[in-house]
């Protein structure tokens, strides 16, 4: 293809997106579009899978049968999200094995929030309320993103995530209205998860590298700072409602902006965790890689069995 032809295809491609048309797997797409989507979508899938670990950590110790069942169902939903996000990414011409390989070698990233430990039951509430809350703010705009399989996967993911968020808030509410010990547990979890949740919405706009191109492709519709503000404005009244205190002495309603002003985020901590040196980075990867390696003989057996079955069938047919 001549450069002229490619430019013409790119022009048509950009126009389709501008008209809000969906790009489908068999459509022509610029190489960079494919690569960017593989990167973002697989990162999203990895986040779901790694995200199972901190919550899975409390399944055996959930305080009641009702909570145990709800937590199991939630973690199972996350596995389901991972499954259809991996499938959606596969439509771009990469296999699940390759994506796992990228995760296990550290080439692909996942959401840094999962590199924090879940040390009390209240962390199950805080993750649902804050982490899923921030994730929804990030993800709702993706229901209208330009790549069809991603947009469709996100519609389902978002529905379930908002259920998870309510569930998490309900855990926190119950604790906040409980005994002093329970309330303290809830406040402590909020103290530990608040700042990492704000960081989840990404670096500030002045240092964010992908934003402009992503806006054009509708992989992003609002800037990180706008999303963060939206999250804070939405969450502060919820904390007040259940009598918990946001751990930010600079947090103050700004009448003029109609938004909350908030304190400085510790970006050094953010980059430390992103670069692999958070409290749980090594453990999370060890758990994923360990499960994959321990499972190799099982996957091999399943392949070998399927092959044997196929051969027997063919023999019968002959």
């Amino acid at each position: 293809m001549s450069e002229e032809q490619i430019r013409s295809l790119e022009r048509q491609f950009d126009e389709r997106i501008a008209r809000d048309e969906k790009i489908e797997p068999k459509d022509w797409m610029p190489d960079k579009y494919r690569k960017t989507h593989i990167r973002q979508m697989s990162q999203h899938a990895h986040s779901e899978i790694v995200g199972m670990l901190p919550e899975g950590n409390w399944i055996t110790r959930a305080p009641s049968l009702r909570r145990k069942v709800a937590l199991l169902a939630k973690v199972q939903d996350e596995a389901g999200h991972g499954l259809y996000l991996y499938s959606a990414t596969e439509t771009l011409g990469i296999s699940r094995e390759e994506m796992y390989e990228q995760l296990h070698t550290g080439k692909a990233k996942y959401s840094s929030i999962f590199n924090y430990p879940t040390i009390t039951w209240a962390d199950m509430g805080a993750i649902g309320w804050l982490v899923d809350g921030a994730a929804i703010i990030n993800q709702v705009p993706l229901c209208n993103t330009s790549y069809g399989p991603y947009a469709r996967a996100m519609i389902r993911v978002c529905k379930e995530e908002s259920f998870h968020q309510r569930q998490g808030f309900e855990i926190m509410m119950k604790l906040a209205n409980g005994t002093p010990e329970q309330k303290e547990m809830a406040q402590d979890a909020l103290n530990r998860w608040w700042w990492p949740s704000l960081m989840m919405l990404g670096p500030t706009d002045d240092v964010s590298v992908h934003t402009e191109q992503s806006m054009k492709w509708k992989l992003k519709r609002k800037s990180n700072d706008d999303l963060r503000q939206q999250f804070i404005d939405q969450t502060v009244p919820q904390a007040e409602l259940i009598g918990l205190t946001i751990p930010d002495p600079d947090l103050k309603w700004n009448e003029e902006r109609g938004s909350y002003d908030f304190g400085e985020i510790d970006w050094d901590e953010f980059w430390q965790v992103v670069k692999g040196h958070g409290p749980m980075n090594k453990e999370r990867m060890k758990a994923r890689v360990g499960a994959w390696e321990r499972g190799k003989w099982v996957r091999d057996a399943a392949m070998a069995h399927a092959e044997k079955k196929r051969n027997r069938k063919e023999k019968k047919a002959v």
Binding site: I49, M52, L53, G56, I59, T60, R61, A62, P63, S64, L65, R66, R67, K68, V69, L72, A73, V75, Q76, A79, G80, G82, L83, Y86, W121, I171, K174, L175, G178, T179, E181, Q182, A287, G290, A291, W292, R294, G295, K296, W297, V298, R299, D300, A301, A302, A304, H305, K308
Partner: protein, 251 residues
């Protein structure tokens, strides 16, 4: 307690689901593939759902203010009535699925009989559970066949798991006092009658899986009387952690 036999009978059924559900829940996020991870979590979820139905009923029968959670999480080790098989650890995927398979075949046959119980609550619970457990049984027998008739490595592991777990199968067919009383009343299932068809069915699947049916005639028992293997205590310390550390609170 007026209905002590019925209460103990329900606990005998429910504790199997409780302890096995807890074991399967341990695996969440650590399975050999995403699909098996989802399936194992799903089995755990089904089992805990069943546990809730049974214990809500047991709580009504006890009538002393104890809730489903009190019954599930605040008994002492010797008061748990599950069979020894379900408390065995997740040594590897062959053990996990072998344990599941050996339990599922029994569980399904048991529930099919429990559907006929003259106790309407129990028969209603059994009706619901039969559907779930049919699926569990299909899943676990498929995996036993896959691993048995897969690679030489998987065959060896599957055989070893079946050999080790076999000793816990006979206990299913032992009757407790509560069992006997409930059979007389038409409420309970006569487990002694399930034994022949159980071994027949299990052997069929194992043969298809090219796994040798163990010939050992030495079996372990005691779970139904609360005499467990050393594994149970650790499992319970996880299960009970929150209820023991923070007593009398709502969650």
């Amino acid at each position: 307690m007026k209905n002590e036999n019925l209460y103990n009978y329900i606990l005998g059924i429910a504790d199997n689901s409780l302890i096995l559900g807890q074991r399967m829940g341990e695996l969440c996020g650590h399975g050999p593939s995403l699909e098996t991870d989802i399936a194992c979590t799903n089995i755990s979820l089904d089992l805990f759902g069943q546990v809730r139905s049974y214990f809500q009923y047991a709580s009504k029968i006890a009538g002393d203010g104890r809730t489903e959670d009190d019954i599930a999480m605040l008994r002492k080790e010797r008061e748990y009535k599950n069979v020894l098989l379900v408390e065995q650890p997740n040594t590897d995927f062959a053990y996990t699925l072998g344990r599941q398979f050996l339990f599922d075949v029994y569980h399904l046959a048991f529930l099919k009989e429990l559907q006929k119980s003259t106790d309407l609550t129990l028969s209603a619970i059994a009706n619901k559970c039969v559907k779930e457990v049919s699926y569990h049984e299909r899943f676990s027998s498929d995996w036993v066949k896959r691993l048995g008739d897969g690679t030489s490595e998987s065959k060896e592991k599957m055989q070893e798991a079946i050999n080790d777990l076999w000793t816990y199968t006979d206990e299913f067919f032992h009757q407790t006092d509560a069992d006997k009383a409930m059979v007389v009343e038409g409420i309970g299932v006569d487990v002694t009658k399930l034994k022949d068809s159980y071994y027949k069915e299990v052997s069929q699947v194992l043969e298809e899986a090219t796994i040798q049916v163990p010939e050992s005639k030495y079996f372990q028992k005691g779970g139904k009387q609360g005499i467990h293997t050393e594994h149970l205590g650790y499992l319970l310390s996880d299960l009970q952690y929150m209820q023991r550390t923070y007593p009398n609170m709502e969650w």
